[in-house]
Amino acid sequence: MSTQKESLFSKKNMKLIKDPLNDSNPISIQVLGICSALAITIMLENAFVMSMSVLFVLIMANVVVSLIRNLIPDKIRIIVQLVIVATLVITVDQILKAYVYEVSKQLSVFVGLIITNCIIMGRLEAFALGNKPGPAFLDAIGNAFGYTWILLVVGFVREVFGSGSVWGIKFIPDSWLIDNGGFYEHNGLMLLSPIALFLVASVIWVQRSKNRKLIEEN
């Protein structure tokens, strides 16, 4: 670490935000946190609430772990991180249950499973333990938004084609549906988890075809 005081918004620090949005995206490049990306992206609203929950947990955990990084005994550092993450996740879960009950029901176990979201443990272990709170905060924002935009894209596509709505607002009139004598049918596959795998893969494909450096050699 340089002794010189570094601005929080220096070029190096801004890279902490920008990189995870694109070239080191936690989902499409590091392929972490996939299970929640598959499970809760049926509707845009769920994807959004899930993303915001991850944002909150990741920022708080990154900052808290970074603040006490010099106090944490090495031998129990993983379990210490887990306790902090678990506390934050339960906080989120309780708040969702109290204020957005419907959404919390749909997210069901996946809020609890944020604890095991590899993005969070990954950032704590790789970044927060060795950096100051400021950069850890930015790193958390970068990674959480890297996660968010992919979830929102997948959620948007799945909701539009699977339910004919955006954010719960239907734009395909019921009279168009084949059941009601029309010509349109919602794509049922979009409502099932596997389709998210194809959509995430498509994102990965587009991203790597635009930036060939990202393609692994083997």
């Binding site: 129990i76 210490v80 339960i90 906080t91 309780q94 708040i95 249950k97 109290a98 009950y101 419907e102």
Partner: protein, 245 residues
């Protein structure tokens, strides 16, 4: 004085302090959010009961304020609690019985179970809403079944579950499955006065008035619904004055 971060004493102290802080935070949070969470659960229960009664659509209920739903509920719903023989238990409020907890607590002895019932009265007509709970594949399932004023024909159902598989068992909570109960006549008792309940069967209905098609791919959840619905109406039928063994 430099602290040895790797000493056992430091490690244990750190762990104890951390867990105490986290525990205290969570306890405070859980206590302060409890009333809001309970209000949500109660509100959902009222929504289910009113939706099963068929007087309101679920979407409309979801758009309503909690206070409004509570007002409608108190105005139009009467409550009774019965024992297994259909005798009314005095001094119990049906709404206060958590049907899933009651089911679990009396799993081994259904004869000591309390059976709540809600009666919906509107425009001189009555509907009897019967809550039930059972076991799905991953956790409890429950439902509210509304019988018409003949105290026999099903006029509406709502099911819900804790965590059945989306796309398979979770279909019990979907309209398509719930419509099976009302699209053709389903009765609890035959015209001759014999008790059938509702069976969930595979491979075609043999007794269409008392049977429902199972959900393909969700055998255990479907069986759970069947095990819940087949015997579940007995105490209520006794309460309605039918002779049932």
């Amino acid at each position: 004085m430099a602290v040895n971060k790797n000493s056992i004493g430091y490690t244990v102290t750190f762990a104890i302090v951390l867990v105490t802080i986290c525990g205290a935070l969570l306890a405070t949070l859980a206590t302060s959010l409890k009333p809001a969470q309970k209000a949500n659960v109660d509100n959902e229960k009222r929504q289910f009961i009113l939706a099963a009664a068929g007087a309101y659509k679920m979407e409309d209920l979801k758009a309503m304020e909690k206070a409004e739903i509570s007002k409608i509920f108190d105005e139009k719903i009467a409550q009774n609690v019965f024992d297994v023989n259909g005798n009314e238990i005095e001094g119990e409020k049906a709404f206060n019985i958590d049907i899933v907890k009651e089911f679990k607590a009396t799993k081994n002895d259904a004869s000591i179970r309390k059976y709540p019932m809600f009666t919906f009265k509107d425009a001189g007509k009555e509907k009897y809403i019967i809550p039930m709970a059972g076991n799905g594949l991953w956790g409890p399932i429950w439902g509210y079944i509304a019988l018409g004023s003949d105290k026999n024909t099903i006029e509406g159902v709502v099911f819900d579950h804790k965590g059945e598989t989306p796309g398979l068992g979770a279909k019990i909570a979907e309209q398509t499955f719930q419509d099976l109960f009302t699209s053709t006549t389903k009765k609890i008792m035959s015209d001759e006065g014999k008790y059938y309940g509702i069976k969930v069967v595979k491979g075609g209905l043999k007794n269409p008035n008392h049977e429902i098609d199972a959900i393909a791919g969700a055998t255990i959840t479907s069986n759970g619904v069947g095990e819940m619905l087949e015997p579940g109406f007995k105490p209520y039928m006794r309460a309605f004055g039918n002779e049932i063994k």
